[in-house]
């Protein structure tokens, strides 16, 4: 099957988001739960940074809504958080691209933490906020995962000839 470049590009992006959603709900041992990176957020940040003309606020919101449905959380909770980080990433994508890898990872930490903060606020308003500081470990784990994920997604993007 011969796909046009544009179709192949779109398919690549959709497939990477599907993989991220899967990784977000694959069951793991209970003790590992706080160490699960924010896969969907990371993939979203990557595409917003690399191809801001294709992936932005709208895609972020839709993916967040899917996460809400899969998690059974209040509809709009993750959607709002993902739309916000998509906006920020698109807004600063030129700077993010220029950053050295460690600085990029630090920015990702900030973005993912904003994502978690917005989710926490929404949960707190509905009085269902979790207790304890371990809530923030996924942000840090996401930062540590970023450099590797970046390399993988960059390879995928180049192979799909996505600009």
């Amino acid at each position: 099957m011969k796909l046009s470049n544009a179709a192949r590009g779109r398919l690549t992006i959709v497939a990477s988001f599907a993989a991220a959603l899967l990784l977000a709900i694959v069951p793991g041992p209970d003790w590992a739960e706080p160490f699960r990176p924010e896969w969907v957020g990371l993939v979203l940040i990557y595409w917003c940074m690399a191809t801001p003309q294709r992936v932005g606020v709208g895609v972020g919101w839709s993916v967040g809504l899917m996460l809400d449905v899969l998690y059974g959380s209040l509809l709009g909770q993750h959607a709002l958080a993902k739309a916000a980080i998509a906006y920020l990433t698109v807004r600063f994508h030129t700077q993010l691209r220029m950053f050295p890898r460690w600085q990029q990872a630090a920015s990702v930490l900030v973005l993912v933490a904003i994502n978690h903060l917005l989710v926490l606020w929404a949960k707190a308003l509905a009085s269902e906020a979790p207790v304890g500081w371990s809530y923030w470990t996924p942000s840090i784990v996401s930062m540590l995962v970023w450099p590797w994920l970046f390399v993988i997604l960059r390879d995928i993007r180049r192979r799909a000839k996505l600009a």
């Binding site: 919101w61 709009g76 739309a83």
Partner: protein, 283 residues
């Protein structure tokens, strides 16, 4: 091929889009928080996204299948022997229970109190998908088509696990008593003191709003009190693990451990507490 880049000046700016979806999200959250308004939309989306859940269960299912496959014949025979040995014991206990139940109904009649009838139950298998981090929810493979209803109590062999908070046609979501959004009215089995047990998002649950004078001790069993009508009375909920009396605080800080084997079950039991009320299929 149309050049999309040249259109970008005509489409709304990112900030406008963000404000729009933010308002949309807030609206959705408010509607969703109020109850069942969005249940239809959520159901449709859930069914559309079911393939994700199905694929996500593959690793655990394969693992379980492999373990089962390579388990020695002997281990299985041992299991079988153990179950066979346990059976008469359980049956004997059940005999006594039946006698006690009859006696109980008799006494209640003498007291002119309402009869408590035994409950209908249904075994539901877990769909092994990971929960949202720091929440405690399960997906089970029984839904509205099987008569599951919103707020239905879910138990295991040892005690109360939680309640149904989302019903889709073939699956439903159970919020566990350890989830931060969950609270259940209980009674201290020893003293009869009433209290509330709150989830924390961790393995323990918390008993809140009890003052230093409350008659509660470490090791006390907390059973459901049946107040509020959501849960049937008398089921074990949690056991008090630690009581911390900080004189600076208005209330005691009480840690309790759920009695149900939360996180170790492959199956859970759905119960219909009021057997007079027929299970409503599809509300």
């Amino acid at each position: 091929m149309i050049d999309l880049a040249s259109w970008s000046t005509r489409t709304p700016s990112n900030l406008v889009r963000l404000v729009f979806v933010a308002l949309l999200s807030v609206g959705l959250m408010m509607l969703d928080h109020q109850g069942e308004r969005l249940a239809k939309i959520r159901s449709v989306l859930s069914i559309a996204l079911y393939p994700f859940q199905a694929v996500a269960t593959v690793p655990t299912r394969t693992g379980a299948w492999l373990i089962e496959f390579f388990r020695s014949d002997r281990a299985m025979r041992e299991d079988y022997e153990k179950l066979r040995a346990d059976r008469p014991l359980l049956l004997a206990k059940l005999q006594k229970y039946q006698a006690l139940e009859a006696e109980n109904i008799h006494f209640r009649r003498l007291l002119n109190a309402a009869e408590r009838v035994s409950e209908r139950a249904l075994v539901a298998e877990l769909l092994e998908v990971g929960p949202e981090p720091f929440t405690r929810k399960l997906v089970i493979t029984k839904g509205g088509q099987h008569g599951v209803y919103l707020g239905q109590p879910v138990i295991d062999a040892l005690g109360i696990m939680g309640q149904v908070t989302e019903v889709d046609p073939y699956t439903s979501r159970v919020t566990l008593i350890t989830d931060p959004s969950h609270a259940i009215p209980v009674q201290v089995n020893r003293s009869g003191l009433r209290a509330m047990v709150f989830g924390t998002g961790q393995d323990a649950v918390a008993v809140r709003y009890l003052t230093a004078l409350a008659d509660i001790q470490e090791g006390d069993l907390l059973v459901s009190s049946g107040l509020g009508g959501g849960f049937p009375a008398g089921y074990p909920v949690a056991r008090v693990r630690r009581i911390n009396n900080d004189p600076n605080e208005a209330f005691l800080a009480i840690d309790a451990e759920p009695v149900a084997q939360i996180g170790h079950n492959k199956e859970v039991l759905l119960i219909w507490p009021d057997s007079a009320a027929k299970p409503q299929a599809k509300k």
